[in-house]
């Protein structure tokens, strides 16, 4: 990778801007997939470039460029300045450099074993072993094992003194088995939607009993082929932490992004049922609902020290005892709205400007054991692992599908159920949260594929949650 001196680039900028910032992103994403016994992908994808941002007449303008030379940066700053000056006549809001707080610091994601401690050949072998465990039967028509390692370097310097370096080593790991009998198809994965993504090193392969997991996934795919359809009706629903990940993401995280509430996203991702006046007042969920923005949880996918506006990231309660306290808004949104926020002004890479993004949004553990939750229900369904997700542009009406479910009868899990789905409306749904699992049920998940923004951006988020029970949910099965 090209080594550069960001501070010298900053010195090379020659425009009469009120503020200048330069953000470097260098990211290498190594992907390996073994599907059906043969390598499908052995890839290594690297991106490197700079985002030059200037403030002129209260308007930020930017220029994303891969040309990392003094001349390239100087020209980028001039063009960004010209864009900002022109746009300032029609600015949505006139900012000052208070929107880019000065901070100096660094962040290193936690890991034990470096990325290169396992060779490409060894990784191919490991993935092939996992495939062989997934393929428990001839009815497994396709199976695959996937590993991605991501190394990212973010550096940020600014004319008001920010100097931040953040290094990340991250993993995404997935196992998937599809069983089919004609048009009857069932897929089981390792946590749904590539949910197993963490800040971690290659010690991941020591921690998880991957081959045992693979065999279980293959067996459950077969089990689903002959399982009963999920029943239809209003009933109590127990949601595993790998599906709570998605429930929190869609019906809490996005709804509380302040740029959505301010209307920036109305043409794409949408608006929110939450209003600016709701902060400090809205009973978002039952009193068992405690949601944190937590960039400090070790190994969670979106932990970091600073956001891309330079704001230091700290753990904050977003919802406490069910009451909405704080929005997911970085400095620009906090200034525009007057709502207390968090350090979540983030960009997907060097070629995009930061916007409000959820990061680690977690549901804090409660007091109930898993057995106590199941034992409390006479008639209900337990669901694991997301496979389908959809929610309206106000984050109200959601419908989610899961891979695997169990019927709960008289306090016990009985039959396996296939094609489980549920739907609801966010605010009443969360107010029907009646039991929250303890630390033993707490799982840390995330997703690499959260899309938002214009121009569009995909970003990584983390969600940790215990198992939860909701009363009176609309549950249904397949066609």
């Amino acid at each position: 990778m090209q080594k550069i001196d960001l501070k010298s680039f900053l010195a090379a900028v020659d425009v009469p801007a009120d503020w200048v910032g330069i953000r470097e992103v260098t990211e290498t994403n190594s992907a390996r997939v073994v599907r059906d016994g043969v390598p499908e992908v052995n890839g290594c994808f690297t991106t490197q470039g700079l985002m030059v941002e200037v403030l002129a007449d209260g308007q930020f303008g930017y220029y994303g460029t891969p040309n990392m030379t003094d001349k390239g940066i100087s020209e980028a700053a001039k063009q960004a300045y010209a864009q900002a000056k022109k746009a300032a006549q029609h600015a949505t809001y006139k900012f000052t450099d208070a929107a880019r707080p000065a901070n100096v610091g660094s962040y290193q994601s936690p890991f034990v074993k470096e990325k290169d401690t396992i060779t490409p050949g060894e990784l191919n072998k490991t993935l092939l072993d996992a495939y062989n465990q997934l393929k428990v039967s001839d009815k497994i028509v396709s199976a695959r094992a996937l590993l991605k390692t991501i190394q990212s370097l973010f550096r940020f310097v600014s004319s008001n003194g920010s100097d931040i370096t953040q290094d990340f080593l991250m993993l995404e790991f997935d196992l998937s088995a599809t069983a089919a009998d004609g048009a009857n198809q069932q897929t089981r994965t390792f946590g749904g939607m590539r949910g197993n993504c963490l800040q971690m090193g290659m010690e991941f392969f020591d921690k998880w009993e991957l081959l045992a997991q693979a065999q279980k996934i293959g067996e459950q795919a077969i089990e689903l082929l002959d399982a009963d359809e999920c029943p239809t009706g209003e009933m109590d629903l127990v949601i595993a932490s790998d599906q709570m990940m998605l429930q929190i993401h869609e019906s809490v995280g996005h709804a509380l992004e302040v740029d959505r509430i301010l209307g920036d996203e109305r043409n794409y991702a949408g608006w929110s049922f939450v209003n600016i006046d709701d902060f400090g007042k809205l009973q978002y969920g039952s009193e068992l609902m405690n949601i944190t923005f937590d960039p400090t949880l070790s190994s969670e996918f979106a932990s970091y020290g600073y956001d891309d506006g330079g704001l230091e990231a700290t753990r904050e309660y977003i919802i406490k005892d069910g009451v909405l306290l704080r929005g997911l808004g970085g400095m620009e949104s906090q200034i525009r709205s007057g709502v207390p926020g968090v350090a979540n002004f983030r960009a997907s890479s060097w070629n995009r400007a930061p916007i409000d993004r959820m990061a680690n949004i977690n549901l804090e553990p409660g007091n109930s054991s898993f057995d106590e939750i199941i034992g409390a229900l006479e008639n209900g369904v337990y669901m694991e692992s997301n496979r389908s997700w959809s929610i309206d542009d106000y984050r109200n009406k959601f419908q989610f599908g899961c891979e695997y479910a169990k019927l709960i009868e008289n306090g016990k899990m009985t039959k396996t159920l296939r094609n489980p789905n549920y739907r609801g409306i966010s605010n009443p749904f969360w107010n029907n949260l009646k039991m929250v699992g303890n630390n033993d049920t707490f799982g840390i998940y995330g997703t690499p594929n959260c899309g938002k923004g214009e121009p569009n951006q995909v970003i990584r988020v983390g969600h940790a949650s215990p198992v939860c029970m909701f009363k009176n949910v609309q549950v249904f099965g397949g066609t």
Partner: protein
């Protein structure tokens, strides 16, 4: 950009040793983005971006890679050469690939589309005046886009185009919305102002108090933009031959149970519009026209060369992901002026939102109404509807319940900008269905 690509091709092919094969692909843009909220500028900037993809084959193994192109030849050559060296080493230890797709030299192509576009410095003055007085939110994307492909056997393709797209929503004080997309190549100020003015006039319909519709079955008209969203789902666990073979396609009933869609439903992969290059990332040229579903019958799936090798099928040079690149649905005979009359009483849906398979094997898709969606009685629009969730199968709304197809196909541009700006469009008409299921 093309010269940069050519120089890198020359330099990097020279790095190869005997029995090594290399395919290079190029994807770049010089773009302007102006983000709007309440008809004012929320964010604005420019992006130069270019990515060089490398597909390296040696020792019966394949490695793929990509690097950012900085436009500094020495830097980019060093990056590319380092990747070749790394992949050369890696092909000595990774698993053998029995389904190698080897490059060929089947001829070259070059297509450069010139346009009288809108200059980056002129965009604010051209765009903003026409939208004053309304709450407009959206994105203006503007500039040139580049695609290239070449391999070490001498095959070379280049595609270059320029376009602009203002993708926006107009919003009433009661939060009712109208969608608009003004896209093209040459900038025409009068046409732009006229388009926005027509959108503003549509807002008047949204002033009526929205009505709540109960869950249930409704006669429904879908505008072309809504149909395009359904058609787009075919590219995700649908028309792909690999997804059928691997048991994760919603088209399984058509393959395994001989189920058909309506005889008035026909869709073709049709490159004649020239909106996207015909070559894929392997440099293979797709047929100009490939029928996919003809009069309701699944006639072809999309088959990449790798899928063909793996499953013994014939390739139709689909992209590796086997998604549709230029789908075109045939129009029918329902004139737009007759839509409300034929709908009688039911739903008029202009746009839909956030689609996902809720039961992929059953072809069932869930999503939501969005923007200008209306309740219609006796052929007259009554009022906009409150947002509703639907959950229904395409085997019904493109099959048993498909009553009529609109007589005019519209070009619905791909406005997505993940990573880089997308090329292409879905061309389709609206449809009238006798039943469509709302659930929440």
């Amino acid at each position: 950009m093309e010269n940069i690509f050519k120089e890198l091709c020359t330099g990097l092919f020279a790095e190869l040793k005997n029995d090594e094969l290399l395919t290079l692909s190029f994807c770049g843009e010089n773009s302007q983005f102006i983000r709007l909220n309440n008809a004012s500028i929320r964010q604005t900037g420019l992006v130069d971006d270019a990515m060089l993809g490398l597909k390296f084959i040696a020792n019966d193994r394949t490695c793929v890679s990509s690097i950012t192109v900085s436009s500094n030849y020495d830097v980019d050559m060093a990056r590319g050469a380092a990747e070749i060296k790394r992949m050369r080493s890696e092909t000595q230890e990774i698993l053998e690939d029995p389904f190698l797709v080897l490059p060929t030299n089947a001829g070259s192509s070059r297509e450069v589309k010139k346009a009288a576009g809108l200059g980056f410095d002129d965009a604010v003055d051209a765009l903003l005046p026409a939208m004053q007085g309304v709450d407009l939110v959206g994105i203006f994307a503007n500039g040139r886009m580049y695609r290239g492909n070449a391999n070490s056997l001498g095959q070379y393709h280049w595609f270059e185009t320029e376009s602009h797209c203002l993708d926006y929503s107009l919003v009433t004080p009661e939060h009712q919305m109208v969608k608009g997309t003004y896209a093209g190549t040459d900038w025409n100020q009068d046409a732009y102002e006229s388009y926005v003015d027509r959108s503003i006039k549509k807002l008047a319909l949204m002033d009526r108090k929205p009505v709540r519709v109960d869950p249930g079955m409704y006669r429904t008209w879908f505008d072309a933009a809504a149909v395009a969203d359904f058609v787009d789902m075919f590219s995700w666990n649908g028309i792909s031959e690999a997804s059928l073979q691997q048991g994760c396609s919603g088209f399984g009933k058509m393959r395994h149970n001989d189920q058909r869609l309506s005889p008035i439903f026909t869709i073709t992969e049709d490159f004649s519009s020239g909106l996207v290059p015909k070559f894929n990332s392997n440099g293979e040229i797709a047929p100009e026209s490939l029928p996919l579903i003809s009069n309701g019958e699944l006639t072809n799936t999309l088959v990449s060369s790798r899928t063909a090798a793996e499953y013994g099928a014939s390739t139709n040079y689909a992209e590796d992901g086997e998604e549709m690149r230029s789908p075109t649905m045939n129009p029918g005979d329902l004139a737009h002026d007759d839509v409300l009359k034929e709908l009688k009483t039911g739903l008029y849906l202009s746009n839909i939102h956030y689609l996902n398979w809720s039961d992929n094997p059953g072809g069932r898709i869930t999503g939501l109404t969005r923007y200008a969606c209306f309740w219609v009685e006796k052929g007259e629009i009554v009022a906009p509807i409150e947002t509703m969730r639907f959950d229904d199968t395409f085997y019904r709304f493109f099959g048993t319940e498909l009553e009529s197809v609109g007589s005019t196909a519209e070009i619905i541009p791909d406005v997505l900008t993940y990573g880089q700006r997308n090329l292409g469009a879905i061309t389709c008409p609206g449809i009238l269905t006798s039943e469509f299921q709302l659930t929440l």
